[in-house]
């Protein structure tokens, strides 16, 4: 499939800022979708509210742009009403973990067959740069002008604990591994989460001395550690700050029964 058969050509150039990680994630997703051999006519893209959730509106397929934080709940209803559909959810860090936290953990627990791509830019970008639940400690934002006093969530670890079938985290610096992970997530049955730590140079980088997208990518590279190398390390990898690290890799790959199999609607729709 050509890239502009996958994306709606009449909506290009997209509204994302220069250097936004969303575009990189879209490229990797397109590759992974193609390699997985899925069909656009049978796939529905669901998004919440935010820059990341605008991605479904650019894809040449059915798109459901829902309320803030509730994308997983909408996707659950949609998937169970028509189990034959492939449902992909694009969401952000605040949309998934803050306002959508309850739906996130229950979605992992319930294990409905859907793929969630969480574009984690550590900030609330669309509204102008407010602190998010994944903003690192001591970083600046418009609502933490004296430094973030709170500590961030580790969304991938929460998904593992809540029972998702496949969880992986990568940054936009590791595009090949990200593509492979997205392909595994799309092909896996059950609730799959790929968290992409992505750069927001306009609202996050600029306030934290990383206004150039290249500087943010450098920051990712300097702080990224492959998870299989830190399994025995004593560092607290939930703490994303300059002294800490971003752990990347595939966190879990298991085969819990998906919800449709459990209630017996798998073959319907």
């Amino acid at each position: 499939m050509d890239i502009f058969e996958f994306y709606r050509k009449d909506r290009w150039p997209h509204v994302f800022c220069p250097g936004c990680g969303n575009g990189t994630v879209m490229n990797c997703f397109f590759r992974a979708f193609n390699e997985a051999g899925l069909s656009l006519d049978n796939t529905v893209f669901v998004g919440g509210i935010g820059c990341s959730s605008r991605v479904p509106l650019y894809i040449n397929s059915d798109a459901l742009h829902t309320t803030h934080g509730r994308a997983i709940a909408f996707a659950t209803g949609l998937k169970l009403a028509k189990p034959g559909l492939k449902v992909v959810v694009f969401t952000g860090d605040g949309d998934l973990g803050a306002i959508g936290g309850n739906h996130f953990i229950n979605g992992c627990r319930r294990n409905v067959d859907m793929t969630v791509i969480c574009i984690n830019n550590n900030i609330y970008g669309m509204t102008g740069g407010q602190a998010s639940i994944t903003t690192p400690h001591d970083f600046l934002s418009t609502t933490t002008p004296y430094g973030n006093k709170e500590y961030p969530f580790d969304l991938a670890e929460i998904a593992v604990a809540a029972g998702a079938n496949y969880v992986a985290r990568w940054t936009t610096r590791q595009v090949h591994e990200l593509t492979k992970s997205m392909k595994s997530a799309l092909q896996k049955k059950g609730f799959t989460l790929v968290e992409v730590v992505s750069q927001c140079p306009t609202n996050f980088g600029r306030r934290n001395k990383m206004a150039d997208p290249a500087q943010m990518l450098d920051w990712f590279k300097a702080n990224t550690v492959r998870r299989d190398k830190t399994k025995n390390a004593e560092l607290d990898h939930a703490d994303l700050n300059l002294a800490g690290q971003i752990t990347v890799g595939e966190f879990v790959d298991r085969n819990r029964e998906c919800f449709e199999e459990l209630i017996g609607v798998e073959k319907h729709g």
Partner: protein, 376 residues
Amino acid sequence: MRIPPGEYFLQGNDACVEGALASGVRFFAGYPITPSTEIAEGLAQRLKGKDGVFLQMEDEIACISAVIGASWGGAKAMTATSGPGFSLMQEAIGYAAMSETPVVIVNVMRGGPSTGQPTKASQGDVMQTKWGSHGDYQVIAFAPASVQEMFDLTVECFNYSEKYRVPAFLLSDAEIGHMRGLLRIPEKLKIIDRKEMGIRRTDEAYDVPDDLVKPFPVFGKGHKAIITGMTHTENGRIEPEDSKVHSDLVTRLNEKVLRNRKDINQWEMIGEGSKTMIISYGSSALGPKEVATTDPNVGLLRLKSIWPLPEEPIAQAAKGAQRILVCEMNLGQLYFSIKRVAHDAGCKQVELLSKLGGEPPTPSEVRHKIRSMGAI
């Protein structure tokens, strides 16, 4: 599986379950809340395997979201709740109105505000049904007053929500929900399905060219639809900065229902033309009904549909009346709108009998109030 036609002795909530199944509901997402839990439990028993999907979600917001998602997947979808859960659902109800999603929400009203009286009735959510979410939108709401109407009006809720692509509400209350009575299920039921995009229908309901209802694009059929709560044009293009697009869209969403009010209005009239009229709805109409049937000078206009406000029958009743009594189990919610319509129609004495505390007004209370208003 639907139960066969016949006579049954059921609880109001169970009759609602039967009505939903008769309409073809295939998706229910619920959360336990008194006094609506029986609806969730009934559908949990009946929606299994091929019949449909029952989900108990983590909170009411997830319930209404899942129901809207399921509607876009092509299923007739419903949820049931009471006051506190209804307050949680408002954002998504606004989304359903803006994205024109057909959903049915049953609100078995209980004493409010807040946790209030979980096991006793009230009619305190009437205004919230119409104005609960932000912005200007219209909804369709029905108020049953018997077990039979719990069945009939649930079917009507599904029909109207599918026909007009608007959220439809069944405003029951703890009295009607838990009351046991006779239910007659007829042989044939009129069922209306959504006007699906790309499918030609011969049903005359869809022959109206300017009914302002756009064809419904079910997902997974290649329509490439964009459904959003932001201001959008016809083909789903998001245009939040364009004031003409927004005003056209919001006007159409409202006109779609208001223009078709004559089709939606449903009421029961006892003693038409009486000088003393009582206007009421739901379980607070039970007392006035006894007064109206026993007293030839008193009439009753019992509203079955309360949103959009059925102004035509109210005006008709007010024309010939000298005094109107509005009975509600709240401190006056429909009262002020009814008063406005009645004043415009010529009846100047419109008074309110408001009954709080959880029980419907009794016939003697109604008679007492009418006497104080100047009737015999």
